[in-house]
């Protein structure tokens, strides 16, 4: 579902994000499985680097900085392209300063 239809704002790399609190991630060799206990969707995270960056988003002021710090250059584009999809699926969400 496109993000706009879901009532979720479009992904912006200059904002702060975090893994959605109702999402659990199971590590797998290929990457990981993210399960959202609210909407009960299972989402494939298709590389270990993507799992790593999703789990690290909360530690960085912007998604861009999280990607730069945690993802090897060769995988940066693939991980960056995956984040809007993960926002639409509510695997990640915008993090507000007070939250």
């Amino acid at each position: 579902m496109p993000a706009e239809q879901a009532g979720v704002a479009a992904f912006r790399p200059d904002l702060a994000y975090e893994k959605h609190p109702r999402v659990a991630i199971r590590h797998e060799e290929f990457g990981g499985l993210a399960y959202h206990y609210g909407n009960r969707r299972l989402v494939f995270l298709k590389s270990p680097a993507l799992v790593d960056v999703v789990e690290a988003l909360a530690d960085f002021p912007t998604a861009t900085e999280a990607l730069a710090a945690r993802v090897p250059a060769a995988q940066a584009q693939a991980c960056s392209a995956a984040l809007p999809r993960l926002l639409a699926a509510e695997v990640i969400r915008v993090r507000f300063p007070e939250s």
Partner: protein, 387 residues
């Protein structure tokens, strides 16, 4: 789903994506297609404490949800205790029921729980069609259960239908039935497993009906199928889902006595990987059993290797091949190009004995059950994998 990921999944995962757990062999119905030949409870069924330990293991392995079936799971006196415990431990529950015990009080109780999905089984859009498979009065009982869920404001439950030659003409009616309840429709494939071994030949859809079903499902990606019909993907664009046999790779089954099988459709000694009662518990069976290791190794396409559609259907359903006596590295008996039918004609009578089962009649199989015109039953238990 990318081919690279599909290939990776076929080599297995740290834990199943979709775990089916049949809580009991006890059932007050006797559907002619029951995958587990259920009827009588087994005195060796897992105790409440043992079942709680299984749930603890699922929690530790991050199995996010479990598909609970049977038999009729609500027959177990500790049914509510177990599903409450599972959801408290972050193991979501989807359970299949014939609805006969889903009273207004039970519906209210279910409506108050989180992480819970309910699937009510019918096998037709009217009592005549459905009862022929599931027994007299079963359709009305299931409809009462749906009414009770709606009355209790449970939310969008699921209506689960095994597709047969006789109900496939009712797809639009089934869709309308689900819509009337605000429910989701779930269609699954009839397997020649359990009592289905006796009814499959008469009940499985014809080739024309399979093509109709494929087109109907392609137009309705919101209809759940538990990846049941991936053999139809050989007809063109793939259906939503993983499109692979997940047996021992991404799915498995725990039966009421704790035995672990490769999938919900192969309750047969040959596909028994171990038991949750073994010293390493479920985790060791999943990780280390010889059977699952074998299933995760690269499979030969066998007789299908020269077929241009192999990448689409991957040879179809292992259980359907096994219980019709076909080689596992060949075509599915319902291969959309007829290769399975050809193979069945070439090797008639090769089907294995499915075992004694827990049918109340206690009759040896190969005797007709009470199907007269031919119709099959029980619910499917595949994964409804989100696309």
């Amino acid at each position: 789903m990318s081919t690279a990921l599909t290939n990776r999944l076929s080599r297995g995962l740290a834990a199943p994506i979709c775990l089916t757990w049949e809580l009991t062999y006890g059932c007050n119905l006797a559907c002619v297609h029951c995958l587990s030949s259920s009827g009588r409870r087994d005195p060796r069924e897992l105790s409440t404490d043992e079942a709680r330990r299984v749930i603890d293991e699922m929690h530790d392995l991050q199995v996010f949800y479990v598909n609970i079936g049977g038999g009729e799971p609500m027959i177990r006196p500790d049914f509510f205790e177990l599903i409450s415990y599972a959801t408290q431990r972050d193991v979501g529950v989807k359970f299949s029921t014939n609805g006969t015990m889903l009273t207004p009080a039970a519906a209210s109780r279910l409506a108050g729980m989180d992480y819970l999905d309910v699937q009510v089984s019918v096998d037709g859009a009217d009592a005549v069609t459905s009862d022929e498979v599931r027994g007299a009065g079963s359709y009305d009982a299931a409809r009462r259960a749906m009414d009770n869920l709606a009355e209790a404001e449970f939310g969008p439950f699921k209506i689960s239908v095994v597709i047969t030659r006789h109900n496939i003409g009712q797809l639009d009616d089934l869709e309308a039935l689900a819509a009337a309840y605000g429910a989701q429709l779930r269609l699954t494939r009839l397997r020649p497993s359990g009592r289905g071994a006796d009814s499959w030949a008469q009940l499985h859809p014809t080739q024309d009906q399979q093509r109709t079903l494929y087109s109907w499902l392609r137009e309705r990606p919101g209809v759940l199928t538990g990846d049941s019909f991936f053999h139809l993907s050989a007809l063109g664009e793939p259906l939503p889902g993983l499109n692979l046999c997940g047996a021992g790779r991404v799915v498995c089954l725990i039966d009421p006595v704790g035995d672990v099988y490769a999938c919900p459709f192969v309750l047969h000694e040959e596909f028994r990987a171990g038991s949750v009662r073994d010293s390493g518990g479920f985790a060791a069976v999943w990780r280390d059993s010889a059977l699952f290791t074998e299933l995760r190794s690269p499979a030969s396409a066998g007789a299908c290797s020269s077929c241009g559609s192999y990448d689409a259907c991957r040879g179809g359903c292992m259980a359907s091949k096994f219980f019709t006596g076909l080689p596992l590295d060949g075509p599915d008996p319902e291969c959309v190009y007829g290769h399975g039918e050809t193979a069945l004609r070439a090797a008639p009578g090769a089907a294995p004995h499915p075992g004694p089962g827990h049918s109340k009649s206690g009759k040896a199989r190969r005797q007709p059950v009470f199907v007269t015109l031919g119709r099959g039953r029980d619910h499917g238990h595949g994964a409804d994998t989100p696309s």
